[in-house]
Each structure stands twice: as C-alpha cells, then as structure tokens.
C-alpha cells in the first residue's frame, strides 16, 4: 500500500498508486503494479527500465491511450489538480497534444506514411486551435525550421519516408511542440536512431522543451543517455519503481541492487576480457505471474528469506533519494565489492599501460 503523500493542489503531474492490468487470453498481465511519481513544472525526469518494466504503459495511461476493453486501470493521475483517470474522453482529447504531448520511439511507424509531414503537423494545430489552413501551415514551416530541418518550406510537403531517421524524429518533436504543451513525454525517442544522430536529437529535445518552459519525461532503457540530461531519475522494474532520486545521487550512490546491476553492466572500455561485460543474470519476470514479494529477488545477489524479500513488496518513499529494497544493509557490501573491482581493474589498466 502506498504511503499516502500530500498532493499539493497545483502539483504539476502527480501519479498516485497507478495500477494497469491487461486482460489477455492467458490471464491478467499486471504491467504496472503501483507507481507513485511526481513531476514538477519544467523539470526533466528520466524513467529508466528494461522492456516490460511498465515504463511506457505508465505514461500511455496518463494520456488515456489504452483501449477501454481488456484494460484495468486504477489509481489517480493528477494533472494540475485534475484527475485524468476519471476524466471524460473530451477532456482527455483536449489535454493530448495541447497540454501534454507524447513522442514515440520509431518515427517511421509513428507517422502516417500516406500523409505529408506538414499535414500531420497542421492537423494537430487545427485540432486544438481555431487557425486557418494557411496560418497553420506557416506555423508548421516555422516549427520545422525550429527543429533544425533544412529547407522547411519544401519539406513541409514531403512524406515521412522521404526524411532520414533523425529528421523524422525532429519532425515528430516539432509536431509535439506545435501547440506549446506544458509537458512532453518522450518514449524512447532515440532508440530507433543511429548512434551518431541520437545525441543531436536528444540535445534538440532538451533545449526546445527548456525554451518553451515545458517539463520533459524521458523514458529510456539506456542509462548512458540519461546522465547528461535529467534532473531526476526513476528506475522501474516489473511494474514498480525500484529507485528514485536526483540524478547524481542515484548514479554516484545507487541503493537498489537492480540499479547497481544496471550501472555495473555498462561496458567499460578500460576493463579486460571477461571483465568487460557484467550483465545481470537471469530473465525479467513474467508480468502474468510476477514473483511474490520483491520482484527482483530471483536475480538479486543479496535477497534473503529472513528479510522478507520473497514475501513483502518493498516501496520507495515519494520524495528524495529512496530505493525499494529490504536489504539496505547489504547494499553497502555490494557497493563495496563494486568499488574494489573498479579499483582492481583501474590498477590493471595502469599496469598494462606501463608495459
């Protein structure tokens, strides 16, 4: 049960004990099992997790994008004081695109191939504002220029497949910003792009949202991306938040075995041979039958029966730096061994250099 936290009336976005389940042929898939998250105006929050952790599902639920049938939703999603879970379709429609925008992973499939890019931007504008076709198109051209697409007057009449991957995503960003939203949710915006383009697009995303004063939720499985960009981070695992906190707190002093594992598994260029990759053993859990207690325990090196890891679900505290783990005592040991390993390979690297 979530610790009831005070939700100030003007809290920007406040997700309170969100649960999302899907009725499938094989049973109920519990994609999100109790998520509490707050986002303040203008801040950049990263939500990190593997596929299947529920990170996308959470934010699709914010915009009410899950189909009604076969979906079980409970909890509260407070947007500037208003509950979106109980809001009617009309209200949700006015929120989507105009107050909260969403950018998706693969711009090739996310954009409709049979309509021009310009058309897809102008239809967004005209859906929310009373603008003439010409004005809307002019704005679309401006937006395309804003996101760094060359020759926007030509490009606005071109089709998505005529753009390169990076430019397509820029166009999506332009589309998302077209009605000046207050919050932008970017669901793995660079995963489908070439590495060289990723940094540019992320940079663009960050700067443009900052310029408009909008908040940004960056959903990703890629920890490396997060470091330079976000203010806060929430690490998700198996439908719940495993650890949350300010970015540097979490990166420099992780407190959840999963986060530690993630940080560990980032390849180190300076390590030798087998030391180079240290994956987390095991498989992510099935959300049809999640493990009892702490969902990470089957893969956790310090899980223990005595501490309730197999029985009771640990929770994060809504504020500050917090990790959902019963074994905070042992975490130091993990961190300790990690430090020694790092020191050892540092020493190795030096030794090699001297040869």
């Amino acid at each position: 049960m979530a610790v009831p936290s005070p939700s100030p009336a003007d809290a920007f976005l406040h997700i309170d004990d969100l649960q999302v389940g899907f009725d499938t042929e094989d049973g109920l898939v519990q994609a999100v099992r109790g998520v509490d998250l707050s986002i303040d105006r203008g801040e950049v929050v990263a939500v990190v997790g593997e596929s299947g952790s529920g990170k996308s599902v959470t934010f699709l639920a914010v915009l009410g994008l899950h189909p009604e049938h076969h979906t079980q939703l409970s909890g509260r999603i407070s947007w500037q004081g208003e509950d979106l879970v109980t809001a009617d379709e009309d209200r949700l429609r006015s929120v989507r695109g105009a107050e909260i925008s969403m950018i998706f992973q693969d711009p090739l499939t996310a954009l409709n191939p049979v309509h021009t890019v310009g058309k897809q931007i102008t239809e967004t504008i005209r859906a929310h504002e009373n603008t003439s076709k010409q004005d809307a198109k002019a704005r679309a051209v401006d937006l395309l220029g804003l996101v760094g697409i060359p020759q926007p007057q030509r490009r606005v009449d071109m089709y998505p497949h005529e753009f390169s991957g990076g430019m397509r995503q820029r166009a999506m960003i332009a589309m998302a910003l077209s009605c000046e939203p207050e919050l932008v949710i970017a669901d793995e915006p660079t995963t489908a792009l070439d590495v060289t383009v990723q940094a540019q697009v992320l940079e663009l995303l960050l700067s443009k949202t900052r310029e408009v004063g909008a908040g940004l939720v960056l959903i990703t499985h890629d920890l490396g991306v997060v470091a330079g960009m976000a203010d806060r981070v929430a690490v998700m695992y198996a439908g719940r938040i495993a650890e949350r906190g300010e970015i540097h707190e979490v990166f420099e002093g992780p407190r959840h075995p999963y986060t530690i594992g993630l940080l560990d598994s980032l390849p180190r260029v300076d390590a030798e041979g087998e030391e180079r990759l240290r994956p987390i053993g095991g498989q992510p859990p099935s959300m049809l039958h999640p493990p009892p207690g702490c969902a990470f325990h089957p893969r956790c090196r310090i899980a223990s029966e005595d501490y309730g890891c197999m029985r009771a679900i640990p929770e994060v505290v809504p504020h500050g730096h917090s990790a959902a783990c019963w074994r905070q005592d042992e975490v130091d040991v993990l961190l300790g061994s990690r430090a020694t390993r790092d020191a050892a390979s540092d020493a190795d690297a030096e030794a090699r250099e001297q040869q």
Binding site: A31, V48, E50, T191, Q198, D222, G224, G261, L262, L266
Partner: protein
C-alpha cells in the same frame, strides 16, 4: 498500445534497436551472455514447437474454426464409412422422384436412384478430388514459387511472366482444351483444376520467400556459412509454411467448387457417376416437383466447402501473431 508482451518480443528481435555502444547494454541482462550463440538464437527464432502449440491453442479457441473442423471431420467420416452403409448409388428403385421416406432418407431421383447414396458418393468424390488437386497444385506452386522467390533474377521474371499469361487466359478455355485432350472424367477435372490453381500458390510462396529472405536473421545465418539448403529448410520454409497451409485448406474448398462448376456445365464428371455438381444440374428442371433433388446435394456442397473455408480462415487467424 504497447503491451508488455510486445516490448519483450521487440527486445528479443535480433534486428531491434541495433545500437551497440556505450550505454545500450542495459538490454543485455535478458540475453545474458556476452557473445551471441548464433545457432542457438536462430533455432529459437525458427519454427519452434511452441509456435505450433500456440497456433493450435488459438485455433481451438476460435469457435467458427472448430465448427469448420468438425464439419470436415464429419464429412470425412461420411466419405470413408458412408459407402459401406448406403446402397449402391446406381441401383434403380421402382419409384422414381419419390419424396424422402424411411426407406430412402433423401428420396429418389428421376431415374429411381437413392439420393442419399448418391450424395454420399458425391461427397467422397468431391473430397478426393479436392485433396488430389490441392496436393498437386501445392507441390507445383511451392516448387515454382520457391525457385522464383529464392533465386530471383531471370528465372523469377520468366516464371512470373508465365504465371501472368496463364492467369489471363480464360479458365474455361483451358478446361475445354484439357478435357478434349484427356477426355471427360475425373482425371481431366483434377488436371484442369490443378493446372489453374497452382498459379496463386506460386505467387504467395514467392512473396513469402522474398519477405523472409530479407530478414536479418537469414543474413546472419548466411554470414556464418550455413549452407543454402539448410537456410531454406529451417528458416525460410517455416515462415512460408503458414500461408501455404492456409492456401491448401482454402484450395481444397475452391477445388471442390471448381469440380462442381465443371460438372454442372457438363464438362466435368459425366453421368452416371455421382457428382454433386452434376446432380444439381440435372435437378434444375425438376425443381418444382422434386425440390429435394437440388436441396440435398446443394447443402452437401455448401457444407463441405464451408468446412474447408472456415478451417482456412481459422488457420489464418491462428497464425497471425499480431495481437492488439
């Protein structure tokens, strides 16, 4: 909407994000090994038993498909066991054009033959012809389609041109010609139907080959030196297998309809052999006085074809992995 299953599947795709570099290893935890054991992974991507079981389970849940299956099983039983249970269809009984009675459940026809017996034998004939046609045209179609799709280039163009030409030729012309050549009767019907049906199968198989050929895991297999024949057998054919099975099921239904049409027009099965199409054609002039002569064979054909079509539809749905 991305369901968690989708996300997991997408992550499992070898062609997925493709970004290997600093920071992308967060994905590695569920592959769990530092190097990819290519053959192992490829086997998992291939036609694993679980895919079949999955499809079968889906099929079972589809009520219409199961109904179709039931129909076909029932009719197969009729076709196999029926002839032992009914009279000889050519026996002439004294009362012609008699309504259904206890003695003749389906009545008798204008010559005095037991309609039930004729219908049973007709069903058997239809199913036999259907299967034969489907087998022959599938083999031809698969071979041609595979060669065309796999090798591409000149042979592909040549074969597909040929298919185009054949498709444009009026079907009945071909039928007449073949029948003049082979004489009327069962053999001519089978050959005619098979020679026109393989065209569509070839096209679908070719399309399947072309699609699968491009997938990355085939590239990976090739890069590792897996011999061509093995690639085709283990990786491509399973993917093409699904549309083929559907085509065969639908093809049997179409062949049965085709035989009925040919017999109806007089160029298929000849009297006195019992063909459902023939029976319907002969019954038209007696409809006002003896409607059962049309109804029973008519219903028999419809049910038979329906059964196979429903199975085909069900298979198509069952193999379709794209869930909402």
């Amino acid at each position: 909407m991305t369901s968690p299953g989708d996300e997991l599947r997408r992550a499992g795709d070898l062609e997925g994000a493709g970004t290997v570099g600093y920071g992308s290893s967060v994905d590695l935890p569920h592959i769990g090994v530092a190097h990819v054991d290519a053959d192992l992974t490829l086997t998992e991507v291939g036609p694993s038993r679980s895919l079949m079981q999955d499809a079968w389970r889906r099929f079972r849940r589809n009520r219409l498909a199961m109904f179709g299956l039931g129909l076909v099983v029932f009719l197969l039983l009729v076709a196999i066991i029926g002839p032992f249970l009914v009279d000889d269809p050519s026996t002439l009984y004294p009362f012609a054009k008699e309504q259904p009675t206890n003695q003749h459940w389906f009545g008798t026809d204008e010559l005095g033959r037991d309609v039930l017996a004729r219908v049973v034998y007709g069903i058997r004939l239809s199913i036999v012809i259907g299967f034969m046609v489907a087998i022959i045209e599938s083999i031809i179609g698969i071979v041609v389609g595979s060669v065309s799709g796999w090798f591409g280039g000149f042979s592909d163009t040549l074969l597909m041109r040929f298919v185009d030409v054949m498709l444009g030729i009026p079907y009945l012309l071909l039928a007449f010609a073949l029948i003049a050549l082979l004489g009327k009767g069962v053999v001519a019907v089978i050959v005619t139907l098979a020679l026109t049906a393989w065209l569509q199968t070839a096209r679908s198989v070719r399309a399947g080959f072309i699609q699968t050929k491009e997938l990355e895991y085939v590239d990976a297999a090739r890069a590792m030196g897996v011999p061509q024949r093995r690639i085709i057998w283990r990786h491509i054919l399973p993917n093409v297998f699904q549309p083929i099975v559907v085509l065969i099921a639908v093809g049997i239904g179409a062949a049965i309809l085709g035989e009925a049409a040919l017999s109806f027009l007089g160029v298929g099965i000849q009297p006195p052999d019992p063909s459902l199409g023939l029976m319907i054609s002969e019954s038209q002039s007696h409809f006002s006085t003896a409607p059962w002569l049309l109804i029973f064979p008519g219903v028999a054909i419809v049910l038979t074809v329906l059964g196979f079509l429903l199975i085909g539809d069900g298979l198509r749905d069952a193999f379709d992995v794209k869930d909402t």
